[in-house]
Amino acid sequence: MINPYQTLTAQITDIKDEVLNMKRFWLKLDEEFDYSPGQIIFLSIPGFGEAAFAPCGKSDDKRTVELCVRHVGKLTGKLHAMKIGESVGIRGPFGHGWPLNNFQNRHPEPFAKSQDKLREGSDGRYEGDSSTLPQNDKKKNILIVVGGMGLVPLRTLLLNREKYLSPETKIQIFYGARTPDDFLFKENFDRWKKEEIDLQLTIDKACLGWNECVGVVTALFDKYPIVENAAAFLCGPPIMYKFILQKLQEKNASGEPSRTASGEPSRTTSGEPSRTISENDIYMSLERRMHCGIGICQHCAIGPFYTCKDGPVFRYADIKNIPGAI
């Protein structure tokens, strides 16, 4: 029987100051460690505990895990004080990340199939009715909306685009930060723009030398049309989700017909591709306190789901009716 709490030892091979209070760490393992973008790992420093982090580096080097960590407390403080050559523990990866390959790998259904799809199976257990699951393969493109640290769990997807997405997939990013100095991974911005990723930035308050958008991340929706036939990938603080969801609903309501219940992308009367995004196509990464990482300790439970095991990426349609989920 494997011990799910046992960690692998990883050596810190590089450290870089990212922004104020945030550092990037490159951790080298003796064995291969495979994860999918958006999944989490647990970092362990004995004496200082464990916590969940989202790997953010290129995933083709399977012996290296890159983390981008904000100093907030005991464990993260200790990590920030560590030096190249020192070692930490890692376990995981856990949970489900972003849906990939044009979403043909349907987001896995958690143990308790989401609410309205319940029916009683012959053996008296509940079973999901897979026929009602929306098929997302009609959605080709991705709108990424992130605030603050939210870009962290999406960077692997962007860096290994060819591995996870088909070549036709268009990517648009709406990224909000407090000041220009707070944007993460600025070193990648040029390359992403060259790869025709539509990267739009906004900062909270106007400041000298900033010519782009000012305002919270939802302001970008008023400035730029969103990419057509898109699924939305959201990551940021809960309060940001509330505003973005509101914005997407406004967009859906205004003018453009919403998608039909069957998940068919609707077309405007003029035959224009759809620029609305239904709740079946909105994915969001949620943060909860975590202890076990394997769906037992109950700390991260949201209604019938565990953030560590069934998430951290959830489809909005699956969690929207759960009180307190967002």
Partner: protein, 348 residues
Amino acid sequence: MNSRQFSKLVSYLSKNYQIYATQEENGQVVIDELHDAKKAVLDNRLPFYSWKRFFVPECESLFEYDGVSLTPSSREQGKQTVLLGINFVDLKSIILYDRVFAADTYYQSRRNNLLIIAHNFLPGPENNLAHVEYKEENLKQYSFDVFLAAQENSVIGHKKTEIEYRVFAGSEKGEKVLRESGYKDYQRIECLGLLSEDRSGSAMNVFRDKLTNHHNPKIWEELGRRCIECGKCTIVCPTCFCFRLDDTPSLEVGQGQRQRCWDACFYQEFSEVAGPSTGSTGSPQAGSGQAPKFLKTTAEKIHFWYYHKFARIPDEHSITGCVGCHRCYQVCPVGIDIKKVLEDVYNS
């Protein structure tokens, strides 16, 4: 098995094993180490604390750490502990532990060292809210090593009349102790531990449906005004198994234990995460400086507790996460009565 044969079994066990048994102390039934075979009592009184700590201890060491490396804490091999006197209501909670910790190496090695002797006495209606009934044909759905089924008309209550048990061995281990103690007249059954309770229309399914699909905030807000978040209910409840992982340093620098300890969803830190970022969150309310929590109000906490027992556990493990023992009510300083709460949920 008559009382003389029962005493013989208990003295055999006490010579060869460590035994924890239900015993009478100051007029109450408690679970304690058995030093005098004559003191074991099997009857319909519910021990104040459940048997939970034998399955899921309050705190256990998972690893000894030294620097970054974790060495799994040693587990005692093969030394059996007998749990004598688990009543038919509490027996159900063992099915839950077995399912929740099915893949847990620490639980499994501890579990293999437990020898369970259960009986069919049912606590009075006040401590049997789920109306559990004893039926011999359902025995194999449970999990035990030896089962003592008091014959009808042999005893009621805790009056010491002559008791006759029908004896079942639910495992090889159970069979072995019976034989070695000199008792042969048992029936061997295969315990499958397969109890499944998802029956449409049952009260438990109604609770599940109400909690999942018809959230009624009024009930929880009202309870939230009364509950003082002391967490006592989670300590006595046989089915509360939430835990946290903690590192406890020893005196040697860089050494210590990584422990797994009971936690309670009523405690403040249970759902706390790191505070708003110093970098931006792209939100108007960034930087308020307070650690955000997901279970913010007492109402949300008490709802979380009920949701876990009556919706999440049934969804995940096909049994209700409450055995109906009423211990939570008995310890609650403000008198929150699960029976009453469930009636309200049912009628909501």
